[in-house]
Symmetry: C2
Subunit: 195 residues, 2 copies
């Protein structure tokens, strides 16, 4: 049986999502067929809305539907926690005990893939150092994350702002996004100054 | 941090898909944010297109973008294989050696959830018996599937059309040691003579 064109097309889009194989994508497509027309229309509209409304915060680079994100608008800017991706912010916010602001790099240095300092949002971070007391670098504890942390720490040094790295409470090679709240919380409170 | 409304809404839609939890749904939503605008627009359009174009085949009840599905248009109608859902058709078509047509019930009898003979597509099956030589009932080998198979077989009997049930037994490659008692019992009672 030839697969129906429109179903094949939708399956293709679903399988472009992270961790979704062809079989799972087909299940999702069938689920859409079984949705009410209203739900399907709402689903499609939600996709368009997210693309239309969500941009990057002018200050920290997190996803936001405003010019400046809610965290930057409301929080104390004397402590800046640097992460690789917006979903890392979501993971840390879930703990609820961090009260500073963030800076999202949208990547880490990766010379073998031609990702240098100009490809990630490092220069924006340096512009924020005025008035900052501490920068906590919370890139993933893997090779590229460590190298990026060291690079940023070196850049910040001349500014005289204290720079720290989250503690290796996280198993090496793990991803911040999937860490449990306790581990993540300990990793932040045990942060070590980079001297 | 308050979750951004439009992201929360899209996450909600993704989590309505089968087997998708809140965390996975959020990952999918972030993936949409990271898609190109063209891809996101295509994704949304594909959802709408599927809902608009896909209906049920007038004859067998399978999903189709035409009045009558491709299988019903091209295949021999003397053998009708009865399944619960469209995805069962996809599974059987993948084997590639069944040459008859299908009849999709879109459910099984389930009295405790008020699903009676009028709630699934049984009457349409009876109208197709004229000219049919055999009806193979391939509902799932569980309680409701068995009961539905027995009910349909009884309804077909007066029409004088041969009715069969797919075989129960051990799956190919299974180990007897790990088979459940019901399956093993059926495999033994349904044994076939080695000629």
């Amino acid at each position: 049986m030839r697969e129906i064109d429109s179903v094949a097309k939708l399956t293709g889009y679903f399988s472009s999502l992270p961790g979704v194989g062809r079989k799972t994508a087909a299940r999702y497509a069938y689920a859409v067929i079984n949705m009410s027309a209203d739900d399907a229309a709402g689903f499609a509209a939600a996709i368009l809305e997210v693309k239309e409304k969500i941009g990057l915060c002018r200050v920290c680079g997190n996803f936001t539907d405003a010019d400046e994100c809610e965290i930057c608008r409301r929080r104390d800017h004397s402590v800046i926690l640097v992460v690789k991706e917006p979903k890392d912010v979501a993971a840390i916010e879930k703990i609820g005990d961090y009260t500073g602001v963030y800076h999202i790099l949208h990547g880490v240095l990766d010379p073998s893939n031609n990702v240098g300092p100009n490809e990630i949002r490092i220069s924006g971070l340096l512009r924020r150092l005025d008035g900052a007391k501490e920068v906590i670098i919370a890139t993933n504890p893997d090779l590229l994350g460590e190298a990026t942390a060291m690079y940023i720490a070196k850049l910040i040094k001349p500014f005289g702002v204290k720079t720290s790295r989250i503690a290796h409470g996280l198993p090496v090679g793990a991803e911040i996004e999937y860490a449990d709240a306790m581990t993540l919380s300990r990793a932040i409170s045990d942060r070590k100054e980079i001297l």
